[in-house]
Structure formats: C-alpha cells, structure tokens
Symmetry: C2
Subunit: 385 residues, 2 copies
C-alpha cells in the first residue's frame, strides 16, 4: 500500500498493491507524507554494448568529426578494451534501473569483423536482468551493410538468435547505396516479420530524400507502426514546409522518430511532428563510449536535454518531453502492460517533485523504484533481490 501518491496527471491516490499489480486506487491517506509517482522511464535508444562504464577513463580518439571517423575510432577502442561488453553493459543496466528505467531498446553492433559477438553479450545481459528490465534488441549494422559484405546475412542470423528488430545506418552517408541498404534491411524485416529502427544522421535534403524512401518501403511492406527513424537530424535543417510535408509522409507510413536531444546536431521539430501525427520518443544514445564522453542513462535528465534543445519552457512542452521518455517510448516498443492504472503492473518511480514539469526540469533524486510491487532500487542504488 502506498498511502499518499500523486500522479503525473495531478490526481492523488492511495494505491493498494496485490500480487505485483495495482489492486485498488483509494482516496489518499492524508496523514502519510505524499510522494510523486511516475510510471517507469523507457529508454528508446541505448547502446548497451558500446558503453565503457566500469573501465578507467578512455579519452575520445576520433580523428575527425564525421560518423565515419567515429566508427573508425570505435574499432580501435573495441580492440583495446580490457573489460568485456557483458560486464560494462551490466554496469550500465544497473545504473539505469536504479534511475528508474525499466524498459529499453538497445542497438547492438553487428558487422563482418565483430560478427554476433556483441549480440551474445547483450543476450546474456538480457537474460541476467530479465526480472528487472525489458530489453528489446536491434541488430544494428554499425559499419554499414553494403560496405561491410556479409553483414546482411549476419543481421538475419541475429534475428534468429533473439534480436527483435533489424537496424540500419545512413544508407547514403555510410553505404552510399540507398537501395542496396534498404533492400537488405527491409528484406530481413519482411523475411523475419520484425520491425526496423534506422539511425539516420544524414542531414539536409539528402536526409529528407532517404526518409521519403524509407516511408515508401514501409508502406509497401505493410510495416506501419513497426518502423522508427532514430536521430532524423535532417528534419531540423530544412525549411518548415519541407519538414511538415515529410512529417505527413512519416505519419501516413506509421514511422516514429527518436531524438536524444543532440548536443550540436539539429533537433527534429518535435511539436510540428506531433501536430502532424508522428510519434516522437526519446533515448539516451551514447553513454560514456567511443562516440561520446557524456551521458549517464538517466531518462529524466534526457527529457530535460530534449526540452532544453527544443527550447521547451512551458509546462505542456515539458510534458511532451516527459511523454517521450515514458508513454510514447512504451508505445513504440509495443509494451502491453505499461502505465499507472488499476490492474496494471505495480511499476513506479518515486521522486520529490510537485509537478510533472518540475520533475523534468529539476530531475530530482529517485527516492525508490518499484517493479512488480517490489522495491528494486533506493536513492540510486539497486537493492538486493
């Protein structure tokens, strides 16, 4: 029983919990101190196999500022790492669960050097933490598909071994072959009956043209609601009318857009996308890895960064940022049992805040995290099972 909780919608309740579920919502017990309860945070884009969390500090080694430079630098870091991906990824899972994330979509690097090694690592992490957190896996061709021969078959095999979606990466910017790239990944998706989540950093009109091609193929393959484009920087670097027209195509095709609130790249225009019916959701992206020194997996902080970059200031805007790291991400991940409601799982994150807007702006300490009626973390630290 949680005697006196207030929820993001402003309502106040006592919450009775039985068998890990919300058995009843009662009037609050005013004598108990109130606590602000949020649904679990959802990370729509994380890289569990890339983080270096738990290793001594690794300076960034990219020679230049392009995606290709960073792919190259990561190969060196990967070869030199002294702690396995299974261990660093587990460090990250513990950290994010303690911050209130109970569901995530992790991309996992697959290429013709790595093979399915990182997939094995993340499958092991998923198994180890299955009682704590839902991990959806995207088979991600970090080195490209066309320019890394053999990768298409590996992606297909990855699905067979337990990956949930097939990924993609800048069909033009990296593979320089729009159709070759899309043929490969849509081929896997159709053969295996899975969704797609494509990293698209390519900017400007080129990036927009790639989105149009992805939308067309999504419609043709009947994959509405199962395709996401991550980053989609291009939507923030073209005139508003172009962004609006593209938004209509994305909405019709049932494609969602993931933003992590990039530091320097252009932000997709989130309110415009929503107004045109496009689902937008949030993710951490890189967390202390060969790509970025920043990030910690705290999705409330991520909501703040998304809001900060999107110039959000009003409460309804902060509410959109919050939705991106909770309900919207849950919809994209297809989570059936999500949200605070009668009969739902007793999954909550308790913080000190008066309102939803304050929770996003101030990112208060997580007092405790509850999963299925059990406290799994207190004050940012996992509790023993």
């Amino acid at each position: 029983m949680i005697g006196n909780a207030w929820l993001p919608d402003g309502s106040r309740h006592g919450i009775e919990i039985r068998d890990g579920r919300v058995a009843a919502l009662r009037p609050p017990t005013a004598s108990e101190p109130g606590v602000f309860l949020m649904p679990p945070l959802v990370d729509g884009h994380i890289h569990l196999d890339k983080t270096l969390l738990g290793l001594p500090w690794v300076p960034n080694q990219a020679a230049g500022n392009t995606v290709a430079d960073r792919i190259e630098a990561e190969r060196k870091v990967r070869a030199a790492r002294s702690v396995s991906e299974t261990e660093t990824g587990a460090n990250l899972v513990k950290q994010v669960v303690a911050s209130g994330t109970l569901h995530m979509r992790s991309h996992v690097d697959i290429d013709n050097q790595l093979g399915l090694k990182n997939l094995q690592a993340v499958l092991a992490i998923r198994e180890r933490f299955r009682d704590l957190v839902t991990i959806q896996i995207v088979a991600f061709p970090q080195s490209g598909v066309v320019r890394s021969p053999g990768t298409a078959r590996l992606l297909d095999e990855a699905i067979g071994q337990g990956a949930d979606l097939v990924g993609g990466l800048d069909p033009v910017g990296i593979d320089r072959d729009l159709d070759g790239h899309l043929d490969a990944i849509f081929g896997v998706a159709e053969r295996r009956g899975v969704g797609i989540d494509i990293h698209l950093h390519d900017g400007g009109d080129g990036g927009i043209a790639e989105m149009r091609a992805i939308a067309e193929r999504t419609r043709a393959a009947g994959l509405a609601g199962k395709v996401a484009i991550s980053h989609a920087f291009a939507l923030g670097s073209v005139p508003t009318e172009t962004a609006a027209r593209t938004a209509d195509l994305l909405a019709e095709a049932g494609i969602a857009i993931m933003s992590h609130g990039p530091g320097a790249a252009t932000m997709p225009p989130l309110p415009l996308l929503r107004a045109h019916g496009v689902e937008v959701f949030g993710g951490s992206d890189n967390i202390r890895d060969a790509w970025s020194p920043f990030g910690n997996g705290d999705m409330l902080e991520r909501a703040m960064l998304i809001g900060y970059r999107a110039n959000f200031r009003h409460d309804h805007e902060l509410a959109l940022a919050f939705e991106m790291v909770t309900e919207a991400a849950a919809r994209v991940l297809g989570l059936a049992d999500y949200g605070i409601r009668l009969g739902g799982a007793a999954d909550f994150v308790a913080v000190e805040a008066e309102t939803l807007a304050e929770a996003v702006a101030a990112r208060p300490r997580r007092k405790w995290v509850m999963k299925g009626g059990r406290i799994v973390a207190r004050d940012g630290v996992l509790t023993p099972p």
Copy 2:
C-alpha cells in the same frame, strides 16, 4: 592536511594547510585513499534576484518566444511572488556553494518600475554570505535603458550603492537605439570607473555590428579587460570568416565572451574565439525563474552543457569547458587569490573522478567543498558554520 590529492593537471600531492592557506605541497601519502581536487567553481553569469527557488512550482507564462515576451512575463511573475528575492536568492546561494561555486557574478535587474529594490536584496545576500562566497554585482537594465526612462540614472546610483559593474541589454533588439544605449552604459562606466557586462542576444549581422560598436567604444574608453559580452549568439550564426574577423576585434579590444551553452540559440564558436585570443568563460544564466524552468547552478553540469552544445568530445575540449567555469571565469572576475597553488587559499572541491575530463562528463557528486581550510559543504549540503 589532505594526504593524497590529485589535481586537474594530473599531479599528486599531500597538501598541508595552515591558517586557511596551502602551506606546503608534499609527496602524497599513498596509504590514504586518493581524492580528486578541483579549484572552486566560478559562475560568471547568474541572476540571484530572478530565481524562484523555494517557491511552489511556477509555470512559465511567456506569451511568445522573444526576449521582449519574456521580459513582460517576468513582470507578472515578479508582481505575484509570495517569497522575497532575498530569500529565494539565499536559497540559490546555499545550493550553488554546496555544489562547489565560491565566486560568482550576479546580474541584478534595475528598471524604472523596480528601482533599486532587487539591488538591495542582492546586497543583503552578499553581506549575509560574505564568508562563504564572493558575489560581484552587475547593475543590469533588464527593461532596456532608452525605452525605460530614468534607468540610466538608476544604474549610476546602483554603482554608488555597491554594484561592481554596469550591465547592458541588446541595444538594438530591445532599445532600438544602439548609440543611445551605449552612450548611457559607457557613460556610467567611465564616470564610475567600473567595467561592463552586456547581454547580447541579437543574432546575425545585426548582432555582429553591435559587437563591433562595443569593441570600438571599449578601445576608446580604455576599458580593455573590463568588458564582457554575455551570450553573443550572433557569433554562432554568421559565416566562420565573419566570426573570425569579429573575434580579432574583440581580442584587440580586450572583450571577454560568456556562454552558458544555450539550449536552442546558436553557440559562439569557442575554440575559434580562443584561437583568436578572446577570453571565453561560463555562467549558469537562468535558474528556475520566469525565463527558464531549467538550471540548478551546478557549474560542473554547466561545463558539460557547454561542451555538449559545442560538440566537445576530446579531453582537451572538455578541459576548455572546465577552464571556462574555473580559471577563465576567475580571470574575467579579476579574482586575485584564485587557484590551487603554494601560498594560495585552501579552497577546494573534492569529487570522485579519475581525470578532469571525467569530472566534466560525469559531473560527480561533490564529496566536500573547502573554503579557507574549512569544510563548508559535504555531499551537496552546507555544513553549519
């Protein structure tokens, strides 16, 4: 005695403290656990009179997205506030000292409605916390000078009452009178023999033209090293050659540039400015006030935001972000007794980090903050005097 400290430059020492100063640097005592020590954080741009910290959550009320809209909205919030600026400002000082900031430059709103009321509040705060923190005060014409008749005289009076510098605000964007605005504030500066710190949000070529005018007047008035331009968004929205030419003028005139790593506005090109000899420094700007719901005054987090927005990833870039919130800000504020050195004040911030880059990227908890040899905060909470 701090037995085993490592410093931002990577060196390790035992630090002997006597009479509040560093009396000796000795070889470290390896048997003691090591601690990473930073010099105090310096906030080069804060608004102690604007924060609403300690009030119930106040939703943002700006009707639009311009500086003028936000000035208008702040007037309403100000009229409705139930807790005095003296109290909310004190809340903020306590919070930032606990996060390791021991020196700051606070702008204080002055206009013909407010008069010197907010100045009185911040002077009272400065007096109250004089043993903890250095507060430099800028008499800031938040409503403009020309369009708020009587403000020029108030700015002058403010210096007489204890403000340290005169401020300015978008001479063209707000006052629509470049010369009128600059005549007034340079007039006060020359009469009173004080420096200037001008908020300049105006973007594009217009903003650049204003910077050129400010540089010219700074040279003419012999104010090199005493003038700062805060924000300077324009430098990030013009071609690189224009930014470089402007940087040369700023460097020659001895004008420093403050950036808080704005969320949506363009970033001044920090490495370019440094390469051209311009001093760049950091500040919090708005902290939970009528302008922005975000911000918490943590200058390590601010260094992260600056680095994130500037696309910094390498250790030397993170070191520049760190310098902006420590040594560089200290130089701009003219702090005589700053930095970790033999004979210097025993002012330190202790964190868990291996390197300077990690401290910026991860923004670890402040284990303790020392001022003049005394621990003034532990784990983010002030200790009783």
